[in-house]
Symmetry: none
DNA sequence: AATGAATGAGTGTTCATTCAT
DNA sequence: CATGAATGAACACTCATTCAT
């Protein structure tokens, strides 16, 4: 990994843990065993660093959308939930910056960040819409339902710790279930099986 | 409203809009037509200001829990969803600070903020548990379900604008519906009618 | 004691303990159960306060000179040593300010403080000169001897604590002895008696 | 001389002339043709600067003790007086800070400064004790005599100006004489000749 | 590439002092 | 007399960034 990538990785960690403004360039440099000024041989500015981290996260999220299996809306939505949560689990710092720190970009760059986020949200909304059009998801307001789903997914970065007791798979399975129920879909077969169906399945 | 309250209100706005660290005391003062130093006749430190805003938000959220109607879990959960969203709508800046900026408190005060947030989350979890114990909510993992609900609710501060086209009532109604469905409850009477209930309920 | 005197007394304590610049008007006020601004009903400025404290100390020292007994130089010098040390013991804060903090006065007032100190030093020098002229003190350089005596006396404020184990009388007696010996005078009779003479007396 | 040493030297001058609290970092920087903030590339804090100056002075004084000639107490005491005065003459600013400004250090560092001063005073006291044990110095109270000597020596920083009319040698000679007489020692050979010794010695 | 010294603007905060009440 | 709010300047210190080496 070259210096620039190292810098971006550490910057992601620090921006996500302490916030963009509470992270100083000197501290970033210290984590790389460098002097503050040396960073500028590799980057242009602190703000560029922030935008780049946002871009990297956006790319990861966008790839989830691109690699969604074709097929029925339930399968696709499950894949989306799992993919989204996987990105959060694997790229927690960058994801956190994508969700929060982008705000601190100033106007020219801010627009790009907003666009990246909007593009992803629209992708998610498209998946919801498909399901609704197919009659599989039953919701009153597609936009609201999308936001609801995104909310539930995004917030996980606030509490989920990949090295904690809850495995990514277990989380994804449970969340997919909850999301699908909220979208008016019956519990998935696997879910039923894992729980010996009955009770939950009939609910 | 005395000066201290004015300061707290403006601080809430600025901390929520720009973030704690990106808000300078001089800027805060300027919004009150004061010199920077003059703030210190009313407050002790910037950090105290942050904690106080967090406390005010926590109090509002806590009151929602305290004023929940007694009765069946569905009614209570609906009231919780609506109450939570009302606090967000009415106290958007403070709620935002409660959700995010508390992180920038330093250790002694940080603990208080964490305790306030934990207390509220436990209150929400209690409502979910009641419903599960009563056999009305059907979820595999109470903790996860609670986090799911909280996620969906909390994230709204990111996009909901009280002066936008979506009324608080409409939002709350829709979200209550989605939450209850995720919790495995059949659509409520109104919901059923609008959605021709039956099918959905059995799904 | 009226308010002004109270203020001067506390100011003396604080200026001497923490130094003029490290003492804030608010702290001074707090010691008097007042708000900072309230001091200005009684005084004109912080600097005036400093000068006034210097003046009070100077007056005490000057009175020692004025009340010196007439008589032989040894008796007068002993009285001077004791009187000087008594002022330090009884007025430690003011004496400390007189010795040190006067430096922080700005030019117009600074001159007065310097004059007060000079006047006292000249008084002491006069006592030394008398003794030399009378052939009782034997020193090469009157000015240096005076400075030597003043040094020994002044520095006591740095370590002498009136409430410590060493009584003012014992200190004064011992210092008078040392000063007189330095000035080339034999040990005083009292001194000899107190120690059952022998050893020291013969030295 | 590197920047750090320059800073320490100027800091010594300013702290001694105006006092620690009355010296601003900006003023210190201005004397070095720097911006205020630039100092912090070389030092950690203003307080560190104060401690360092105190340390440098302490080192000089301590070296006087270490380099005292072995031999009779009178010779040693003379060397001590001369050495002490030489440090004051050659390092007036640092010595002044050593005598006074150390008080403004805050607890952790304050203790070090106190220890340095105590160590030197004990060294001086040891020299006095030697002389007493050898029967050469005749004093009632060793501790008081030591303080007397230290007082006389220390205070010189208040008035002695190395570039004034009084040479360091003349001052040291005269002070050594006065100190020894106070310690009950007959005038030294040179002194005896000048003062016709005999009389004085027997006094 | 990296350093280390420097800048100039900015940080939160304290200060002596004023003044209407 | 005393208060409490305010000022405007100053404080020690940090910041992102530049640049000669």
């Amino acid at each position: 990994m070259d210096r620039r990538s190292q810098i971006l990785t550490i910057a992601g960690h620090l921006f996500s843990r302490k916030g963009y403004h509470a992270t100083s360039m000197r501290e970033l440099a210290r984590h790389l065993n460098l002097q503050g000024g040396s960073l500028y041989a590799h980057i242009q500015s602190k703000e560029e660093l922030l935008l780049e981290v946002v871009r990297q996260a956006a790319e990861r999220f966008q790839k989830v959308l691109e690699e969604l299996p074709s097929g029925d809306p339930v399968t696709r939505m499950k894949a989306l939930v799992k993919g989204h949560l996987r990105v959060i689990a694997e790229e927690l710092p960058r994801a956190t910056v994508f969700f929060h720190e982008w705000k601190h970009l100033s106007p020219p760059l801010l627009e790009e960040a907003k666009a990246l986020r909007r593009r992803y949200e629209e992708g998610v909304q498209a998946v919801v819409e498909e399901g609704v059009r197919a009659g599989v998801f039953r919701v009153e307001n597609v936009r609201l339902a999308t936001l609801f789903v995104l909310s539930a997914l995004n917030w996980t970065y606030q509490w989920y710790r990949p090295d904690g007791p809850l495995s990514l798979e277990a989380l994804a399975e449970a969340y997919a279930e909850l999301v699908l129920k909220a979208l008016g879909v019956a519990a998935s077969p696997e879910g039923e099986r894992r729980e010996k169906g009955g009770e939950d399945g009939e609910a």
